[in-house]
């Protein structure tokens, strides 16, 4: 019973924090809300029996990736002028059209989900099981992911240089 209450609580927090994150004008504020949302999702992970994923969500998503955002925002030094402009961009006439599109998609997804039965948890899947599967049948996927990360590393190193040669 406690689990279910906790789940709805965490879901509510996640949704609210995400909506807030999407509507803030200040990037740092939005980022804090996003971190809250990610932490709430981590709680959901834990509740449905994926503690390892929950830990990763906190460590990598809420930790590493978000810190990267913080660094970049600090480097950019946006200031008050940026906030005002962001607020000006968030007019109803701008967001009403996309909102309708999103709603339609949501309805379709709801229609899809409505027919699904069953519980979301069939016991805890431990880190050990995950690790065995990861380095067994999914070893190629692991290799691909490592290649991807390497590419990301090289790409960000190249893009992060102070000047890029023009014209190439």
């Amino acid at each position: 019973m406690l689990e279910i209450i906790l789940f709805y609580l965490a879901s509510g927090v996640a949704l609210a924090a995400t909506i807030l994150a999407m509507t803030r004008a200040n990037a740092i504020h939005a980022l804090i809300y996003l971190i809250v949302s990610l932490l709430a999702v981590a709680v959901i992970f834990f509740l449905v029996g994926a503690p390892f994923a929950a830990a990763l969500e906190i460590v990598i998503y809420a930790g590493a990736i978000m810190v990267l955002f913080v660094f970049v925002i600090m480097m950019l030094n946006l200031g008050e002028k940026g906030d005002a402009r962001e607020r000006q961009w968030l007019q109803p006439r701008i967001w009403s059209g996309p909102a309708v599109l999103s709603l339609v998609l949501l309805c379709e997804l709801l229609y899809l989900i409505s027919s699904i039965e069953g519980s979301a948890s069939a016991g805890t899947v431990t880190a050990k099981t995950v690790g065995i599967a990861l380095f067994g049948p999914y070893v190629i996927a692991v290799e691909l992911a490592s290649m991807l990360l390497l590419a990301g590393l090289v790409g960000s190193f190249h893009l992060g240089r102070r000047t890029l040669e023009r014209g190439s």
Binding site: A50, A53, I73, W89, I113, A120, A122, A145
Partner: protein
Amino acid sequence: MQELAVPLNHVLLVSSLLFCIGMLGLMIRRNIIFILMSLEVMLNASALAFIAAGAHWGQPDGQIMFMLILSVAAAEVAVGLGLVLQVQRRFKSLDMDDANRMRG
């Protein structure tokens, strides 16, 4: 215990809602930082769906997909933020619409 567990379709519902919110953010924001954040939300939402499905079957595959999504997100953020720095340096603005001159 079993009937007291979290219903799968509720988890998926949360995931869909998060996805749609992220998508909405993607469409309405003009600042590239926010666009990247929206992308993170969408990736996270799909990761949630994977975890829920994996948990439903009691298999590790869902979590493995989560990890792959995690690495995609990490790589995407690294490159994306590098691009943000370059855009800021070149256009003196983070407005997506300022960078829409297409060349080549």
